[in-house]
Amino acid sequence: MRSEWLILIAGMTAVTFGPRVFPLLFLHRRTIPEPVLRWLSFIPVAILAALLAPSLAVVDGRLDLGRHNLYLLAAVPTFLVAAFNRRNLFLTALVGMASLVLLRQVL
């Protein structure tokens, strides 16, 4: 391994590992104030939506909300299945993948 990459990997690991672990250690067994807990309770929904939206609506770096965006179209049956089946994650993922394959063949 080149020393250039050794140093780079060490740096990248440090700045990635820190934010992953620090809050868990800092907040460990501490009493978190109620308003902060309430705020934290919204974080999963907020992060999931903030990550999902660009993965569906941004194509090749551009916002695409049109009906030719296959990801957006495949998201419709995916959300429907997810809404009626709130336990089986794998089934929803399969339906989503199958929808996209079908859409690619039809359109």
Partner: protein, 228 residues
């Protein structure tokens, strides 16, 4: 079995992206060990793609490391959000667990922990992490070695495994009407913020702002109930 079913969408999604990263790293001139070490130690997909592209474009240590920091800062929020559920574990356990926290494992963990399933404690938490970490690293190496010979993952729709899983987990997370409001706000902000602010702040900022909207609206309601 239940754990496998929980982890499988993550693994199915990681495999083709890991392979794609391996292909890219090979083309950019990294060695096999550099490619795999980046996946094993940094273990953060989008920042790895960015780092390889930046390195190829001639960027230096500071620029790449700082960009990596920004791109991966969102894990700070995830780590904090999981903390209230993990009081029973030791700091050593939390260090190991947190070190393998990604968007996808966070999505799975936060949903399952919120459901309060007692079977999802201890080992299952680590197993999901380890399976995902191993898949990611192995897929990177396979991509590096096999290159484009593996064919197009789009044929099987594998490029939609992670978005579909996120959609499913998002729906599972929605418990109250405010969750829908927060999700819509986060989605709109995440899509809209790049037009206002350059750089890679959108996911982090969108999540912080949307959660704040939720907390403020929720707080207001509580006060009404108390005063009424």
């Amino acid at each position: 079995m239940d754990i496998i079913r929980t982890a499988l969408p993550v693994l199915l999604g990681y495999a083709p992206i890991g392979v794609a990263y391996g292909v890219l790293a090979h083309q950019a001139g990294l060695s096999l060990w550099e490619t795999a070490a980046l996946s094993f130690f940094v273990y953060a997909g989008s920042s790895q793609f960015i780092a390889v592209a930046m390195w190829q474009a001639g960027a230096g240590f500071l620029a790449i490391t700082f960009t990596t920091f920004l791109v991966n800062l969102r894990h700070f929020l995830m780590s904090a959000a999981l903390s209230p559920y993990l009081g029973r574990y030791s700091k050593l356990w939390l260090t190991y667990f947190g070190g393998e926290l990604t968007d996808e494992t966070f999505a799975v963990h936060s949903t399952r922990l919120r459901q309060g399933d007692p079977g999802y404690a201890g080992k299952p938490l680590l197993l999901v992490n380890e399976a995902a970490h191993l898949t990611w690293t192995a897929a990177s190496a396979v991509g590096y070695l096999a290159g484009t010979a593996l064919g197009n993952p789009q044929r099987l729709g594998l490029d939609f495994a992670l978005p579909a899983m996120f959609a499913a987990l998002l729906v599972m997370q929605v418990r109250r009407r405010l969750d829908v409001v927060v999700a819509l706000a986060a989605a709109a902000l995440s899509l809209g913020l790049p037009f206002l602010i350059p750089g890679r702040w959108n996911v982090l900022l969108a999540a912080v702002l949307a959660a704040s909207i939720g907390a403020v609206l929720d707080g207001g309601k509580h006060q009404c109930v108390v005063s009424g």
